[in-house]
Symmetry: C2
Subunit: 485 residues, 2 copies
């Protein structure tokens, strides 16, 4: 009831008649339809698993159990279950934990195959965006969202950017690794000097590092950023501090005027609306000053598209420091405009605010890569090389899935992933070795869960140069699987 | 008896009267004296610890024990012992394990302070060598010796290079991390493009990556490289494969003719004599073909210095492929010539072959840094960021010290070290955090030792930009130490 009242209030406040379908004039209707189709399809595939397994479980002592179970699985999930997992059900019990993990991994695998084969989000069409950001004065966009699954769709949905044009490195609380980022910055600079990619080094463009912190407008004290105890101000300040440390590292470590551009963005995980803290001419950002997409939406929703676009630009300028860089203003105006479509997406598809205000991730992703993860609350994703260094991020993940899965008796499914450069000799084998090492370390750190069958891992590598899909190199389900045959 | 016979045989074979003091005409007598002084001084400091503690232990129930012990320590070790460690001896037993670890760490700290304050090896005089290698066609020398402590003096003693001019990254078995090295290569390239350091990017010089594998002429089947089961051929082949993988990574990962130079060196850990596998014009190296310093020594020992130097160059050319790069030949000739001094050093100081043919390291070093470790068999040093990734190297270290220390009831002293760039904000604190994380992981992995007081750690950071010494940020001895006060 409260929500309805608030929604009506908002409509009243806006006053005039809204655009077609009640949406913002700048909203990308086709884009929203395509994104919705993809989100529905993928999430439905994951969400069918538990009901189907319940149904199958109820049949496990029937005489034609295996045939019956397979026909249900084929019809509902679209794939067969592993025969040996069903074969023993008559003598013992169906091992539903293992079957659940197997189904999650199979669903993930099919999703990833589709993603790399068909590019359902069109994220590899990067040329126009690359040109645009270079016109704005930037040659690389590097974004760190929080590892929180509620930000996993930040690039493709919230900001509506082609994922192929953005380096994404999620860290819990947005606390990216400064040294690692300086090293990535150096790689990009070297590409400019050596190969003129993405542009030549004499072009007056900068590397743009962005952090997205987050908060919850519906339940700010409980559904904010777990890494910062749902303290929004602390989350924003920590992200800002990390950004400034990165810039200072580049400036101190390299002379000849080396520098980088910074942008801090906040995101409401209930509405997906963003706010941007535009830096002034000296690169300073003010946490109390921002351009808020939700306000821009309200102010511009009744204008014609051309007028709305002009008004967005004016509003960005008006809410930014007077000395802000014009290129940065153009980029932020684009991000705000893109975000208007997402605000409408949440309104159309989710009634203005997500029903899953909290965590609802389907699996955990750890490692390096995961370009295919572009959906909200699908994956808790921690960018890490080792359990030792990523322990804090993993413990947050464990806590989340303790509530989501373990409390219901279901295992935590973890996809371990390392991308590699196929052109580098031995890189595939080293990536597979990294997977196995991380797998052993996870099993060790979470031995209490593993011992009870409450932790399963799928080991995956991918040649990021080849543009092909993922390759499964192992699974915690394997040993017993082969034993069953 | 066998050794004497062999030595006489060698003298006879050489035939003519040798140079002054029976040494090679190109041997750097002053250098040898300075190096011997340093080696004797440092090792004696470590080797006095056990006898002094035995002496002190025998006195622990005397009435004036504390005063007596301190006066012995001051006289023999040059420093006082921590009072609280002595104070409890009358009521319980003197905790000699803790006292031993404390003395090793204190001796290490004093050695490091001396090293950074006084540059006893003159390793920061890099200009002449930098010029020389650039004349040879290289702008950076990056050397991976095995982590084995018997190669820890490879740069300053065996090759007689200024350590400040060489990037050293030891890995067990010489199996360096390809991706990490590509990233370091990129950093150097960027410095050339951006800042003209060490030279400008248009200079036709290359990054030279070198691996030093090792073998034992005295006991080849037991005292070779532990990481390769004392199989010399396997050690050499594995090092070569890793070098080729690195070059291919650079060539495949970067276009416009990016490449690197490679050099494979073998080292006899009994005599410190090297052999160099000089690449041909295409960069191919042959494991069966090498320039052997021990043979060059024998052939040139009776010549005048100028003639000897010319002959060294001829011999290098004669034992290298016909198409070898002239700059590479010059560099190898210099390394061989330098090594002649070390062959004589081992003859003068150690009777031609080290008495400690096997492991005799005094402590373990893990982490990033350790410029001050330049002595043979002082330190088993593993270049690593995490226990998880460095587990193989650490397990070798544990095995070695199981024999050296644990079998005698002594703990394994481990120095955990991370260098940082002082110009980078927060870098010192992140280095200290890395130390603490690695410390916890070590204590966890080797909990069986730690529980018995057989594993102690000193946590150390250093600002590698400032040129100052080390900073101790913690120790496994701390908690109980502060409790004792
Ligand atoms: Zn968060
Ligand atoms: Zn400069
Ligand atoms: Zn070795
Ligand atoms: Zn090119």
């Amino acid at each position: 009831a409260r929500q309805t009242t608030r929604a009506v209030g908002a409509e009243t406040m806006r006053g005039r008649v809204p655009g077609p379908n009640g949406l913002h004039p700048l909203t990308d209707l086709d884009g929203n339809a395509r994104l919705q189709c993809y989100e529905d399809r993928v999430k439905a595939a994951f969400d069918r698993i538990v009901p189907v397994l319940k149904q199958i479980s109820a049949l496990q002592h029937e005489s034609d159990f295996e045939q019956h179970a397979q026909s249900i699985a084929r019809a509902e999930l679209g794939f067969d279950l592993p025969e040996h997992m069903l074969a023993d059900a008559w003598v013992t019990q169906l091992d539903l934990r293992r079957l659940f993990a197997w189904c999650v991994f199979e669903t993930y695998r099919r999703m990833a195959d589709d993603f790399f084969a068909n590019d359902p989000l069109g994220g590899r069409e990067v040329h126009a965006f690359d040109r645009f950001i270079q016109d704005c004065g930037f040659h690389q966009l590097d974004v760190t969202p929080c590892a929180d699954g509620r930000l996993a769709h930040a690039i493709s949905y919230v900001l509506r950017l082609p994922f192929g044009a953005v380096r994404r490195k999620p860290y819990a609380g947005g606390l990216f690794d400064v040294e690692n980022t300086v090293s990535k910055w150096g790689e990009v600079e070297l590409g400019r000097f050596r190969e003129g990619v993405p542009n030549t080094a004499d072009a007056p463009t900068r590397y743009l590092k962005t952090v997205i912190y987050h908060y919850s407008s519906v339940d700010p004290h409980h559904q904010g950023c777990a890494a910062h105890g749902s303290n929004d101000a602390a989350a924003a300040q920590a992200a800002l501090d990390r950004l400034l440390a990165f810039r200072q590292s580049v400036e101190n470590g390299f002379c000849c005027g080396a520098s980088v551009a910074l942008l801090l963005i906040g995101m409401d995980t209930d509405t997906d609306a963003i706010r941007a803290h535009v830096p002034d001419g000296e690169g300073r950002m003010d946490l109390t000053q921002s351009v808020d997409a939700i306000k821009v939406y309200a102010i511009t929703r009744d204008l014609e598209p051309t007028a709305a676009r002009a008004r967005v630009a004016e509003l960005v300028k008006a809410h930014a420091p007077a000395t802000a860089d014009p290129g940065m203003l153009r980029l932020v105006a684009r991000l705000i405009e893109n975000n208007l479509s997402q605000i409408d997406y949440v309104r159309q598809v989710h009634g203005g605010r997500y029903a899953d205000a909290g965590h609802a991730e389907r699996f955990v992703g750890v490692g390096i890569g995961f370009e295919e993860i572009q959906l909200r609350n699908l994956t808790y994703f921690a960018y890490l090389y080792t359990v030792e260094e990523g322990a804090a991020d993993l413990d947050v993940g464990r806590k989340i899935f303790g509530g989501l899965n373990v409390s219901r008796g279901l295992p935590i499914p973890i996809v371990i992933r390392f991308d590699y450069h196929g052109g580098v000799p031995g890189a595939r084998e080293r990536a597979a070795t990294r997977c196995r090492r991380l797998d052993a370390a996870l099993a060790d750190r979470f031995a209490d869960l593993d011992d009870r069958g409450l932790l399963h891992r799928l080991l995956v590598v991918r040649d990021s140069d080849a543009g092909t899909g993922i390759e499964v190199v192992g699974s915690s389900l394997d040993a017993q699987m082969s034993g069953g045959h």
